[in-house]
């Protein structure tokens, strides 16, 4: 509430007319252009493939996070769910469960976790932040307990090979993102469930009085988020060829940041599926660019911070102008 009111307040000064029409996509392309010019390595097929691969895992959890944020909630557990599911799939594979079954069983963790979150929020009346912070802590513990802190390795090569595949020059991980993004887009923007997600985030009371089943909508959002995090966990295991309970540490903030940079509002009811895609691509490009430019790792953090401020500022400027 507070920040909406502030954002609508008219502001003077700080006009950069020439940049106003740059959308987030424009800023991304601009960064790509600058990197292509300043480094030899950036615009190579190899690097672009890497970039897409690196962005994929964040993009997947950021899409799930976006559903939750639009309902006015937050899912801090996604990073821990990535870690937990990467160990679960690793343990199953280690126990010689067939790949399809191991992956299916791991993905089924998603609905269970999502239901638990929604239950805590709806029935126990916990704020989403606390509910998912608690499970963040607990799931890390469960993952560590399952593996005794060790890394699990020795997967069948087809499993680890998956994340290396390419089709039409696009890496398999990014194909997964596409395969997730399209139905998510349709669900959020073209189905009635998507409409209810927005309605709940905008005014739960009005939605309820209009006959929207609030509980079902919240269950849906948290199940999607947890299931996508499980998927990201499976893909992470495939990509790094190990299962570690501590993978995905800090990814909750990354996924929220991707989503919010992409224009999602933490107060709910504002957001889209393209947002987290662009957001995670931007964050990945910043990291990749800094690596290619061989920026000192400490400067890298400083630059990342200020780039985020700059990017979101320009994007806000455009939005504000448009309304």
């Amino acid at each position: 509430m507070a920040d909406m009111a502030i954002a609508t307040k008219p502001r003077r000064g700080l006009r950069f007319g020439f940049l106003l029409n740059l959308t987030l996509l424009g800023l991304l392309l601009l960064m790509w252009l600058v990197l292509s010019v300043t480094t030899d390595a950036f615009m190579t097929t190899n690097n672009i493939v890497n970039l897409l691969r690196q962005a994929s895992l964040w993009a997947i959890i950021a899409i799930g996070q976006t559903f939750v944020i639009i309902t006015g909630g937050i899912d801090l557990s996604v990073g821990a769910v990535v870690g937990l599911s990467s160990t679960v799939v690793a343990l199953l594979l280690k126990a010689e469960v067939p790949i399809w079954l191991a992956v299916t069983l791991t993905l089924l963790l998603g609905p269970v976790i999502g239901c638990f979150h929604a239950f805590g929020i709806l029935k126990l009346g916990l704020p989403p932040f606390i509910m998912t912070l608690a499970t963040l802590t607990a799931f890390r513990g469960i993952g560590l307990l399952l593996t005794n802190g060790a890394t699990i390795s020795g997967f069948p090569p087809e499993f680890t090979g998956f994340s290396r595949l390419e089709l039409l020059g696009i890496p398999s991980l990014f194909w997964v993102v596409i395969l997730i993004a399209i139905p998510s887009y349709i669900l959020l923007h073209h189905s009635r469930w998507g409409r209810y997600i927005y309605a709940v985030g905008s005014n739960a009371e009005a939605a309820r009085l209009s006959g929207v089943h609030i509980a079902r909508t919240i269950y849906l959002a948290y199940i999607l988020s947890a299931t996508l995090a499980c998927l990201a966990g499976v893909l992470t295991a495939s990509r790094i060829a190990i299962g570690v309970a501590t993978t995905g540490e800090g990814w909750e903030l990354q996924s929220i940041a991707s989503s919010v940079i992409g224009g999602t509002s933490l107060f709910g009811a504002v957001g889209s599926i393209t947002g987290p895609l662009l957001g995670s691509m931007l964050l990945t490009t910043i990291n990749n660019g800094a690596n290619l430019l061989n920026v000192n790792p400490f400067w890298q953090r400083i630059i990342t911070g200020f780039l985020i401020i700059a990017i979101v500022f320009f994007d806000q400027l455009r939005r504000r102008k448009k309304r």
């Binding site: 927005y198 309605a199 905008s202 005014n203 009005a206 939605a207 209009s210 006959g211």
Partner: protein, 503 residues
């Protein structure tokens, strides 16, 4: 008003003067070069259709929005408002159309917000509570000063906003539709207040869609249409019909309130229902019937219908719908059984304010306009546009956020979203708050159409002429109980009011 104060002569320097004041929002030219002066000590009414620009005008001269062009003169000197605090500093105060208070603070804290009493830098909470209570009591508003604002009904909140503006020793006071949720008793108290301030020489702007109020209270009246100032009259020299003609600029049907519709079978029967905020209520609703509920603010009418609708749970009694006992656990059960509720507070309960107009209009029917869960975009558009046409909702397009509409147009969305829903029993809680004369007639016609199709209506309205004229049966609530019941126009306004107050 009889004695026109001497100060209100044309020669006096206006307290506040607008010169070619202009305001554009993205997509809307809300105010077009309006020039108007408010004379010292006058009560100046402003009338116009929904979306005419009345509230926008108020927001410019209270510093809420920056103007696009033109100038504002305070006692002859040009002023620039960077924000509301600049207007407040001059003594310009307003009761805005939408109640803008802090729900998490107490009534007293809201009344003194921005103007707290302190000693040694510390808040004097007890002192402020005491003074707030004095102010409320002095105005005849029966409200506890230490209650949380969010525990009050929307009507009670409106009283708090009024008390707040009135208590600040202002020189210039604006009332933007202050009587929307008020019943006759509170309206009379408000008018007493305005007369007192008027006598003290405060300049007052008064906006209302209730024409008779203009003639009761105002010295002069200005008409806005489409953002333009059409005319300013001395009230004594004009009449209702002329004002309306200037407002709408098109022929308007005579506002005929009720056609004769035969009453059908019993749709709803409530027997001795008790719940939070009301006790032992029995009534029936037949097909084709409008059952009106009247009572003072906080009498329990809204609580009663919210219980019927499954929002709260009954503690005793029973509800029969089409002869079958029902007990709804949640709102969607009620909706599934053909009952819909149009809530009283459009901001808190009625609208998803930061979502588009079309979205809000279709919210209850998304399941109908989707195939296998997917929304049919054509149908979505068609339905939204039809509703906007039928109710003459003024908006730049169906995809602008509900937030950007004028108050009356927002109210039309709250109504519009249920009209084609096909329910049997409609509960209208204050449906015509802030709605202009023309649209009110449209809404009454739409109600008649529903009744002809066999629906029944429960109508809560604080506007006595409305319930009196429309209701086939009128029940009066007092302190959570039914105090009296009347047939269609079975009695006069004064006895209804007497029952509501309990004297």
């Amino acid at each position: 008003m009889t004695a026109a104060p001497a100060a209100a002569s044309a020669a006096a320097v206006p307290t506040l003067e607008l010169r070619r004041l202009d305001k554009r929002f993205a997509g809307t030219h809300a105010l077009k070069a309006v020039s108007l002066g408010f004379l010292p000590g006058e009560v100046h009414a402003i009338v116009g259709e929904n979306g005419a620009g009345k509230s926008t005008l108020i927001k410019l001269l209270t510093g809420v929005h920056p103007k696009t062009s033109g100038s504002i003169l305070w006692q002859g000197r040009e002023v620039e408002f960077a924000g509301p605090q600049d207007a407040l500093a001059l003594g310009i105060n307003a009761v805005h159309q939408e109640v803008v208070l802090c729900p998490h603070l107490t009534v007293a804290a809201n009344i003194f917000l921005g103007d707290e009493t302190t000693r040694f830098g510390l808040l004097r909470k007890r002192e402020m509570n005491r003074r707030a209570q004095e102010i409320l009591d002095g105005l005849g508003f029966h409200l506890p000063a230490d209650a949380m604002l969010s525990d009050l009904t929307i009507g009670q909140q409106q009283l708090v906003a009024t008390a707040r503006a009135a208590s600040r020793g202002t020189r210039f006071l604006v009332f933007d539709e202050p009587t929307g949720y008020l019943t006759r008793a509170e309206t009379d108290q408000l008018f007493a207040l305005i007369r007192r301030l008027h006598a003290e020489g405060v300049t007052i702007i008064y906006i209302s869609h209730r024409m008779e109020e203009i003639f009761q209270i105002a010295d002069r009246v200005s008409v806005l249409r489409d953002g333009q100032l059409i005319a300013t009259h001395v009230v004594a020299e004009t009449n209702e019909r002329d004002l309306i003609r200037e407002m709408v600029n098109r022929p308007l049907d005579e506002v005929h309130h009720k056609e004769e519709i035969p009453l059908g079978e019993t749709l709803l029967e409530v027997r001795g229902l008790s719940g939070p905020g009301f006790r032992d209520v029995s009534l029936t609703v037949r097909r084709g019937e409008i059952v009106g509920l009247y009572g003072l603010i906080g009498a329990g009418r809204s609580e009663f219908v919210q219980c019927l609708f499954g929002r709260t749970h009954k503690t005793a009694g029973e509800v029969l719908l089409r002869g079958k006992a029902v007990d709804f656990r949640r709102e969607s059960d009620a909706i599934g059984n053909g009952i819909v509720l149009l809530p009283e507070s459009r901001r808190d309960q009625g609208l998803c304010l930061n979502l588009p107009v079309g979205f809000n209009l279709n919210l209850p029917v998304f399941h109908r306009i989707s195939v296998a869960g997917f929304i049919q975009p054509g149908e979505e558009r068609a339905r939204a546009e039809k509703q906007m046409r039928d109710l003459r909702i003024v908006a730049a397009s169906r995809s602008v956020d509900a937030l950007t509409l004028s108050g009356g147009n927002q109210q039309k969305i709250v109504i519009g979203k249920w009209l084609n829903h096909g329910a049997d029993l409609f509960i209208f809680d204050e449906p015509t708050v802030g709605v202009d004369v023309g649209t009110k007639a449209e809404i009454y016609k739409l109600m008649a159409a529903l009744l002809r199709n066999g629906a029944g209506i429960i109508l809560i309205s604080s506007y006595l002429p409305e319930v009196h004229d429309l209701a086939d049966t009128l029940h009066v609530f007092r302190k959570g109980r039914l105090a009296a019941s009347f047939g269609h126009r079975g009695t006069d306004h004064e006895s209804i009011l007497a029952e509501a107050i309990g004297t």
